[in-house]
Point group: C2
Chain length 411, copies 2
């Protein structure tokens, strides 16, 4: 299959791929403390009401609301202090009319109390009585049982990536372990006779492997596991052997092809022999990253990325991330880290092709942001190292004008 | 020191704190492969030119540019193919006038070649000659030595957090290990007689510890290390003992105080005895999080956060993050994810106080974003779990109107 017979759009490429896939998410139980960034594989239901007791939201006095009716600055109500509510315990007393109890924020209301007067609205007298200068309504300064969460409520939906807030939510309900997606295992191979290991001194004509490491970092950040297969020589036999081994040992594969068209064709050809349906996409109308390959064998996705480090990383961010997320079972994905900024210069682009441009973000004295393209001729990885993010020029546009508000996808 | 004697603004609070601190960053060498998210502690200078040989940027024929001058569709130039440039090696031949060499993208130009003709602009003849249909200028389709990076250039400045692109950049230069900041060690203590461990069944009046875990998750995400000291009883002796131990063992401390004012005062009082200059800030004009405490003993920062889980996490995001980042040596911090979104409802706020409101972000069919506040009465952690980010209402405002374009800080 010679390359670029038919270019598809980035959206079509993912659609073609997901049409033949049925991502199944395997789950494992992990300690909630270790679960940051993991993805919940089940709806998490609250086993209890929250709060599960009537709590005060302020420091003050628990009262019967009706005892305060009519009270004001000039005509205070007078209540007897019955006791103090202990923190972390159930009060062992109830309130009768004209009685009150000292209570702290978070404390449990005594039986028959139905409101709390804030300490600021009271004054304590030598007699042991409390003057109340403000009437409270029933339920005022009180959270009722189940007001936040009722037993049975879905508090964290299946497919949610756990952030610090979700970790806290699980702990609040006593879930010290949680069922999360097993990270998909991604095999990474670099091909190209000019590629050597970063630990090697280069001879003229050689360059060091970058893609294996940028892609591994990105995939681990997304929640996948990586197995490195190193650098494969540009020969049919070597590449076939390496891909077969990696395919057996991993859930999915990423091959960064050598720079030349013939190497990319070889990659596609070999992927096509590794199982059905084989190569589904070969060439995407996107820049950088046109020579991207999507192939599938059974439920194993094989991705061929351009050897150019900028192309490889941009395609990984834009098109490989959704594949990893599908195998993590992520649903209703939260907005990606992004920032809105004003473009500083005109950028032209070719209609019919989606462009992703690296930009630096500059904060203006007014607190808004400017996006300044980082141009460079050779697509060196340092172009991305100098950038804060990427902006997208849709296929329908012929470019973007200076002053346009763009969304910068932070990288 | 009774609480809230003088409220300061969030900006003032950080300024007061950093005025007495001299954050010193300790560094350690880590493998570049393991360095994602770590912070470089030295300027990283390129030891070499990049590229360090003259490379082709296309598939085609290396030529002497002058041999193609005047060539066109109707009057092609004819060049003899001398040889093919091997990938990953120095060509062992040079070009004479009227000669060319087959070259692949990334290949090294033979001696005396100074341009590359794209394969699309050529045709090969049976005679072994190549017809060239387009003239190329000297340097066309070639990257010169050092065009991307010159030896001695700063490629990654000190204080940069390493992303996948920086990992790749290091590898490109052969840096398989890198000097990074040793994570500051943060001790976390929860106080409050009503607080129990998440693994415990709660009795009436008790609630589970949330803050230790949300804060730990956030701090680890930022690049700090956490030591847990568990739940401390609300007594002077217990708290003093626990804080002294934690202070000895850690670089900095965070104590989430119990809910009541008296507990918060106790926390401040004890922090004041733990070294000079003691409590610097007690009460910040921010909501949520007014009862925040900043204290310092020598170079150890002690932070008292409100017991309320939403307050504690919001303050950690807004005000503790910059402290951790300072001790990681982060400079020229990259922009935080901040989406511009249209507020869906009016929000009122109190002048003189900075408000942070949790919001859900909704993508409109047009691709812009709406920010919908997530209100809730009791500041339960699930309010943040349901939110995508926070919006800030500045102290000078009395609120924000529906339709206002706001910046959502994603959490």
């Amino acid at each position: 299959m010679p390359e670029f017979l038919t270019l598809v759009t980035p959206g079509e490429a993912l659609e073609i791929l997901f049409n033949v896939l049925n991502p199944e998410v395997k789950s494992e139980i992990v300690q909630t403390e270790q679960a940051l960034g993991r993805v919940a594989t089940e709806d998490i239901l609250s086993p209890q009401d929250l709060p599960d007791f009537k709590r005060s939201t302020v420091d003050g006095y628990a009262v019967l609301a009706k005892d305060t009716h009519g009270a004001g600055e000039t005509l205070p109500a007078y209540l007897m202090i019955k006791d103090e509510v202990p923190m972390g315990d159930e009060p062992d007393f109830s309130l009768a009319s004209q009685e009150c109890a000292l209570i702290h924020t978070g404390g449990m209301l005594p039986r028959d109390a139905d409101a709390v007067v804030m300490v600021e609205d009271t004054q304590i007298l030598e007699s042991g009585e409390v003057e109340v200068f403000r009437a409270v309504a029933k339920g005022e300064n009180v959270i009722e049982v189940g007001e936040d969460i009722s037993a049975g409520d879905i508090v964290i939906p299946k497919g949610t990536r756990l952030r610090p807030a979700e970790i806290g939510g699980l702990m609040a309900l006593g879930f010290t372990a949680v069922s999360t997606a097993i990270p998909p295992v991604i095999g990474i191979l670099s091909s190209g006779d000019e590629i050597v290991s970063p630990s090697q001194k280069t001879k003229p004509g050689e360059v060091r492997d970058i893609n294996s490491y940028t892609l591994a970092a990105l995939i681990e950040d997304l929640g996948g596991d990586v197995v490195h297969y190193g650098i494969i020589a540009d020969s049919r036999d070597e590449m076939l052997k390496a891909l077969e081994k990696a395919q057996q040992e991993c859930d999915h594969l990423i091959v960064t092809a050598g720079s030349s068209a013939s190497t990319r064709d070889l990659t596609a050809e070999i992927m096509n022999t590794l199982g059905d349906p084989g190569v589904l996409v070969h060439g995407i109308s996107i820049k950088p990253g046109k020579p991207t390959i999507f192939a599938v064998s059974g439920e194993k996705v094989m991705i061929g990325l351009p050897g150019n480090p900028v192309s490889a990383l941009v395609i990984a961010i834009v098109l490989v991330s959704p594949i990893i997320e599908a195998y993590l079972g992520i649903r209703g994905s939260r907005p990606k880290p992004a920032l809105s900024a004003e473009l500083t210069v005109n950028i032209s682009s070719q209609t019919g092709r989606e462009d992703w441009i690296p930009v630096r973000v500059i904060r203006t004295p007014e607190g808004s942001f400017h996006a300044e393209p980082v141009f460079g001729r050779s697509n060196l990885i340092f172009i991305l190292a100098r950038s804060d993010g990427l902006i997208r020029i849709p296929a329908s546009a012929t470019g973007l004008e200076a002053g346009t508000l763009v969304t910068v996808r932070l990288i």
